[in-house]
Amino acid sequence: MNYSAQFDYVYQWFAERLSLNQLIYFLRKKSVPIHRHTIWYYLGNILLTAILIQIVTGIVLTFHYQPTPATAYESIKTIISEIKYGWLIRSIHKWGAYFMIAAAWIHLFSTFFFKAYRRPRELIWWSGVILFTLIMMLGFSGYLLPWSEHAFFATRVGTGIAGQVPIIGSGLKIFLRGGTEISDLTLTRFFALHVVVLPLAILLLGGLHLLLIQIHGLSVPASLENRQLSLKRIPFFPEFILQDLAISCWVTASIVALAVFFPCELGKKFDPILSTPESVLPEWYFLFMFKTLQMLPAQIGPLTGAQVGIFGFGVGFLLIFFAPLLERIFLRVSGRIFNISGIIMITFVIVMTILALINYDRVPSIEAIDLMQNTLAHQQLPGLLIFLPTLIALGIFLWLKARDLALLRIQGFFSNPSEEK
């Protein structure tokens, strides 16, 4: 390395105290198997990137947001129209949430079909499923904070659904609402959940999730397990990390581009005197639940339609959660039945979401359109149009760098970790 002597001295000072050399040695030995499903390994990193974007933009929003019914809506209006880049940060927070939740769904199902929950990765699986639930709750709690019409009624319906859960339902509903109705107390609770409880839980559990992955290594899909030892592998550090970083750049660029060109709207302020507006829809990631509950008849046998629906979602969730234990029972009957149940679940979610989206004709309210003609946004656009290509280019250079290192490795400049014992 051609670092200057001073730099080298400082590096060594820290390396000695942080055991950096051991860490790098460990990361160099860690390797990523290369096969036709390798692409799914990038999803964890996409999810992590989106979470980091959410943390940063969320902190900025928390500096200006006021969690009271009287000021919540107005403070968001201030963020959009008066705070420098406020409109952008808020839109990034929304699009980042969409990416985070989409990545969580895909990551959950791709690892499900990989059968990554098998021994000894049960704890990785369970922490992952809980993380998925926490991420969905993050989306749900954040939706109320603008205190708009849609936010209010979607939260009332959502907490109402929680109230239908057997045994704990009514207690859960009152706990979430901070009373029997949605009120200022609900807003305080949801704010606390959204900015303190859930992010902290996700950081801790996510840390455990990542630590366990370091211990057990990346899982190889069940279909390739018998060829596991003959698979080509690339070192995690620096090649796979560089690829991950490149993808992080592109994901960030996509989120920012969507935020710039499709800025987040802010519906009408909630007015308790008005009745439910005509099209109250949850966010897209809850649409499958919404549509199912809408399509079920009022009464099925001794149970209400809602109870049957919630029972169904519960069974699906438990099937996913207890996959490491249930699979062995299912395998005695048939090898494929477990995969098929996964395919049925994912098809159901997609079909129901599409059915709900067909009637999805939400017209932005007058106020939302006004906010989009934000003069600040127009002033800040040229800078963003320089930023986006720069970020995409950075991703390309990082990817090329990874390829460059791969070429050198193949030519024998570094020892191949797959050949190491």
């Binding site: 200006h64 705070i83 880049y85 406020g86 320089i386 930023f387 720069t390 250079f397 990082l398 760098k401």
Partner: protein, 150 residues
């Protein structure tokens, strides 16, 4: 003369482009985040405010608080009937000062600072006198304005 070999290795080329684009992208992100953290521009502090007639009728040797814009302030009626308007913020570490009718002084309880009724620092740690406003009597009360010492 044509150079047969590139003076930059591929490694140096990629490294410098990563450093360059990374610096631009990184500094843009930091700039955006820190500008968004800045407080919104509130309305500027007023240069003068008016107080209603009830402020002119306060008892001698008492003080009454009022706000000059967002700044807590005191209107003091001295024993001889002189009205004095002062900023009620101690010049030491910005605690709120109050008027003590027994001592006939302004007291800052935080670090035992004392000011006379004209705002001059008498004892304790305060380094400067309190800011004094100008008072103008009008038909419907008082007009308090920032003093121009020019």
């Amino acid at each position: 003369m044509k150079i047969k070999q590139s003076i930059l290795s591929r490694r140096q080329f990629l490294n410098s482009w990563i450093l360059g684009t990374g610096t631009i992208a990184g500094s843009t992100i930091i700039h955006t985040i820190f500008s968004a953290l800045l407080p919104q521009s509130k309305d500027e502090e007023p240069s003068e405010i008016s107080l209603s007639t009830e402020y002119t009728q306060i008892n001698p040797n008492t003080a009454r608080p009022f706000f000059f814009g967002r700044t807590p302030s005191l209107l003091i009626n001295s024993e001889c009937g002189e009205l004095i308007a002062l900023q009620a913020i101690c010049t030491h570490f910005e605690c709120a000062v109050h008027y003590d009718p027994m001592l006939k002084k302004l007291v800052c309880p935080c670090h035992q600072g004392f000011f006379d009724i004209h705002g001059n620092n008498l004892s304790g740690p305060p380094p400067r006198p309190l800011l004094r406003y100008q008072i103008r009597r009008v038909d419907n009360g008082l007009v308090i304005s920032l003093e121009h010492n020019a």
